[in-house]
Amino acid sequence: MELVKSEQRLKQILVADKEENPLRIINVLKSDLLNILKNYMEINANDLDVSITVDEYGFFVFNSYAKVRRLKNLGAIVEQ
């Protein structure tokens, strides 16, 4: 029973820490996402919006919105 309480406490602390400092995570995540997306489409850093929120159950909710100028040749990508 004590461990269950401790686990809840740990979860709350980790969630609170991430809520406090999401900017750093978002910047890293955005940079990684951009690197991957650039393989498939023409996209600038300013056109990608990334956010992380926490829902009522303590789960992280990841949202991403991107304005894409042009998709790359999808046929060539599939062949690769």
Partner: protein, 264 residues
């Protein structure tokens, strides 16, 4: 080219230097040439933990000042001829030392070794970043306590911004009797919360305290010795064997052991 692994944690006192030392010893026992590099300037203790404090002639600063070559500053371990230490110093303003300077030292000697294990200072300030910048891989040490797990989580987030080949967690000081009794987090819970790969688990073992007082690695009879050997094999061979701290405390005899441990 040596594999350069930084041992970090965020929180102080979780056993970074103990892990660094014993992992170095375990790897050298596998016939691998290992250098343990102390970049914890100002509050270094690696020389003491290794039991070589009386044999330090040159240190990192002497190498940086050109008083000696990096190779001359290396101290060969008394019991493990394949294990070397490059000590740090107490009396130095660590702000002035850059990761480029440490990397310069590493570049002079890395061809001599299979592994370079870097002992990182506690905290997430300049010393942490300097140590991480010198490494290709990281092991984040934590204990099964909320404060240590919380700091490990923060460190893992910071490590995301570095281009490291691998970041793993190591759970130190796990008490099998408490895990069996549901009074301590087990390694799987910690792994789940930190969302990171587990390289190994080290039990809370009196053998470690004894080794710290005498200097050097844990005794071959100690359970921690077995745990560090497993970690070294996981690291080098890519195995995934995790030491089971609870094994001793399962079953009838285990239950008696658990009760005795609680009483002591």
């Amino acid at each position: 080219m040596a594999r350069k692994i930084v041992i970090t944690s965020g929180k102080g006192g979780v056993g970074k230097t103990t892990v660094t030392t014993n992992l170095g010893v375990a790897l050298s026992n596998m016939n691998l040439k290992v250098l343990i590099l102390d970049v914890d300037f100002g509050l270094n203790n690696l020389d003491v933990v290794m039991g070589v404090e009386n044999r330090v002639v040159f240190d990192v600063i002497d190498v940086l000042k050109g008083k000696c070559r990096a190779k001359q500053a290396l101290i060969q371990d008394f019991f493990n001829p394949l294990l070397y230490v490059l000590p740090s110093v107490h009396s130095v303003n660590n702000i002035n030392i850059t990761s480029e300077q440490i990397n310069f030292i590493i570049s002079q000697i890395e061809s001599l070794f299979d592994y370079i294990i870097i002992d990182c200072p506690a905290g997430i300030e300049i010393g942490f970043h300097r140590a991480v910048k010198c490494a290709d891989e990281a092991i984040v040490v934590t204990t099964p306590h909320i404060s240590a797990i919380r700091d490990a989580d923060k460190v893992l987030t910071l490590l995301n911004s570095y281009n490291l080949n691998s970041v793993k967690i190591l759970v130190n000081r796990v008490r099998g009797d408490l895990v069996v009794g549901g009074e301590m987090f087990n390694e799987n819970t910690i792994k789940e919360y930190l969302n990171a790969d587990l390289i190994g688990v080290v039990p809370d073992d009196d053998g470690i305290s004894l080794a710290l007082n005498v200097g050097g690695a844990v005794s071959k009879n100690s359970v921690a010795y077995e745990a560090f050997n497993l970690i070294a094999r996981n690291l080098h061979n890519g195995e995934r064997n995790i030491f089971d701290c609870t094994k001793k405390y399962k079953g009838l005899i285990g239950g008696i052991r658990k009760k005795i441990r609680k009483l002591v």
